[in-house]
Symmetry: C2
Subunit: 185 residues, 2 copies
């Protein structure tokens, strides 16, 4: 961040009065420019004991498998976002959403919020951001071909809960990874 | 948003290729400037059947009562944020955090995430952003003097759950209000 998005002047970095950390500040128009984590929202879409995964048609992690999820948009609830992403990435309608997990990824300033959801029917296909979409039995999840550690973590929680039949709300902190082909998450 | 924070040129509003909604875009350096909802994180601090409320020393809603909560910062987990806010606003140490509720406020692009938490001890006092802090029995909650509808909603859920003794994870959408003294939440 170099310039003030309000007036166009150069920004400085300083701790504003009453604050406790450095911010980008415009001395010309006195705007403080805050930067905060973004929410990524998605779901585990279920149908007859299987879950729907999407193979990414976009970078990062082109060709790897993921759950339908994406950035929460302004004006949107988290449930709306999960439904929109399932439709955009898998042309799938999901319903009966249940809050399932929050995953912190503080080193990239992201918070994932994940629902469990039911696929309304078996009418789905790859959206623009997917190469293919496929229902997987949990025994067949392509663990070595998952796009991100956060997705692996959600699926591990889910498979574990399937064993007990109980799906409590989970909170997990994701640590930086060195493996996964250099993925930054 | 008028100017590019990267290069300082004037921004335009357009739907980028592959996107489905208007964004602020810089034609000079080709940066797309996304705007996304912010997370506000806090807790219901409990001690011996009472809960800690803070009377705001800042606008908006100066002088009104609220739960300790604030914007999630970069590099922070939601649990870290809830603990930090309890300390900043009430000089209180909270522990044993349990995920309790997510509240969507889409018309102001906010998502509240609220924990239940235990006060570590009765050592607390007003921080810089509070006029006073006080332990309230649920029978004595100052309902007409609460700062925001979202706080009222959390406290209503909490009082309801106290009756059953069960505290499931809640998800609530907050609607625009016309009362509450014109508060925009």
């Amino acid at each position: 961040m170099n310039f003030c998005s309000n007036c166009g002047e150069r920004l400085v970095v300083l701790v504003p009065p009453g604050d406790d950390r450095p911010r980008f500040v415009c001395n010309a128009c006195e705007t403080i420019h805050y930067s905060n984590p973004k929410m990524v929202v998605g779901c585990v879409p279920e149908l007859d004991g299987r879950i729907l995964l999407c193979r990414r048609a976009i970078e990062p992690r082109f060709g790897k498998w993921t759950l339908p999820a994406g950035y929460l948009e302004n004006g949107e609830t988290v449930a709306d976002c999960a439904k929109r992403e399932a439709y955009e990435e898998a042309l799938a309608r999901v319903e009966n959403l249940k809050s399932y997990a929050l995953l912190n990824i503080p080193f990239i300033n992201q918070v994932y919020f994940i629902f469990r959801a039911q696929l309304a029917n078996d009418d789905y296909q790859a959206g623009n951001e997917s190469l293919e979409v496929k229902l997987y039995r949990t025994d067949d999840i392509p663990w070595s071909e998952l796009a991100f550690p956060v997705i692996r973590e959600v699926l591990k929680l889910y498979c574990g809960d399937l064993v007990t039949g109980e799906f409590p709300f989970h909170m997990v902190d994701i640590a930086p990874q060195t493996g996964m082909g250099g993925a930054h998450q």
